[in-house]
Symmetry: C2
Subunit: 325 residues, 2 copies
Amino acid sequence: MTRIKEVAALAGVSTATVSRVLNGKSVSPGMESAVRRAVAELGYTPNRTARSLRRQHSELIALVLPDIENPFFTSLARGVEDVARAAGLSVVLCNTDEDVDTQEHYLRIADDENMAGVILAPAGPSALLARLAERHRAVVVVDRAVPDDVDQVLFDNVDLGRRAAQALVDRGHRRVACITGPRATPTAKARADGWREALHEKGLPAPDDLLVYANYRVDGGETAMAQLLAAPEPPEAVLATNNLVGVGALRVLAAGDGPHAQLGIIGDLPFVTSPIDDTFLLQLHPREMGLMAARMLVDRIRGEAGPAQRVIQPSRPVMLGAPAS
Amino acid sequence: MTRIKEVAALAGVSTATVSRVLNGKSVSPGMESAVRRAVAELGYTPNRTARSLRRQHSELIALVLPDIENPFFTSLARGVEDVARAAGLSVVLCNTDEDVDTQEHYLRIADDENMAGVILAPAGPSALLARLAERHRAVVVVDRAVPDDVDQVLFDNVDLGRRAAQALVDRGHRRVACITGPRATPTAKARADGWREALHEKGLPAPDDLLVYANYRVDGGETAMAQLLAAPEPPEAVLATNNLVGVGALRVLAAGDGPHAQLGIIGDLPFVTSPIDDTFLLQLHPREMGLMAARMLVDRIRGEAGPAQRVIQPSRPVMLGAPAS
DNA sequence: TTGTAGGCGTTATCAT
DNA sequence: ATGATAACGCCTACAA
């Protein structure tokens, strides 16, 4: 454990001078080189705990995610890292496992560790978030909106649902079902609302039996898809409103022992193995979302940001495989 | 920002008493309740930076991973979290992106932030790791062996390769190919060595054209599998030595426009969509590996661990779908 | 049991 | 430009 004091002693200067060299303040060339030599010789790096305590902020940012196993979020994380590292900040990831208590726990840690900022993909409402923002801590929320007055990078979820459903209708389908997440999940509800609006705009019915509230994971998609296909009058097309239920739905179709249906999925599928013919994808570009969120956070940390803003992230429609026969 | 001083003032005691209450030292009941009331009223939580500086260690552990987008590692992370959280430690994840410089960067942060311990899945050799261990920092290495004298939780990679290849040979195949990672990746090489040994033990040849060194990701698996199947004499079976190249290989097979081959994969496939008939899986249970590593780390942090040990993690063979026709 | 005070390692202020 | 020193917030001897 080498301390600044030892560096100072070896270089024959005061600790203040060492500190100045390390922080790029003006120091005479002779002393500077002596200090740098001593630093190199001892392999000294400043103790970040002491530095954070003194400066009242560290060079860490916390990226607090609800589900580290969802490729959407890991891809978002990569985007955040790229921007943050380039700005001299290090990213630590915290997994809330969709649990609000765990979320509060990690937000509090970020605060108590004097981290420079937090990017949060909320698992649910947070009391701490507002407090952090009030104290002028840098905070950016991604993916799921919160009522607080903080920077947010979001999708227009109703629009996503509408456009995805429209794409399916435009391919000639009249019975278009929707698999979405739990009623209590706002993005799931919004995307389903978009689906409903699209059908109505096209003059099509959107009966309750065409809308399935599944758990928002792979097994939820499987169950829901199986249920839809087993109905007396199965849908001609199915919209899966996130990547995981999309994987589940795709699995059921790929098993191939039931009626077919055209699939639309909101999100991306990094690890699919089946040939996905005849599937409509509305890609979300989570990495870009991470890049944007990190840029906003860096600006805020540097004090270059104005009032809190909400940015809507674009999405991209892609048709995979052969057109519907 | 509420400080211990304010709590002390509100409770009418000294800061020392507040600190004692917070850390479970003996305090008279009257004072204790007064302190607890004040803490609750102010919503006080101790500043972890100051605490870490004073105690010389924080309650954070760093989980340093080479690829946050690989489900193997996210699953491992979940295991680590479960044990660590139960032990009162919080986990922060750091992504090295398979880059040794980034790895050293995060290891240094873990050290300079006085973190309680580090679990590292190495991207390559680390000079800092040995220094951390020497300074009696808690360190556990997972998945990829390092020469240093630290706790390690590993697979027997040669054995994995051997058993997986044996399983394919035992199903009657004589031309069994192998897709593995880059020559410079020790686990990739070891698993390929196991494959070679198995073939030799069965009296089968293991010619160079049956062994493909791919990049260890999905696209590497695709390219390698396509190459193998396009050969004049395509293999009857193919061993993919990790989950990602397994996905790539499976994709090529599922596309179905070439000759077929039976597939063996070392690892798990959380997001596959195709029906995987006729595939041999040697499952690795990364979550269990994370549980074990975290338990060892906690023991070491608590000073309850003896000399550094290496634990070999078991794997499980599974045959999916119908037997080879 | 409780309070006082020193120190963890760094940075920043204030003299020089 | 440089050095001595206070302060960041907390914990823990030591004293009472």
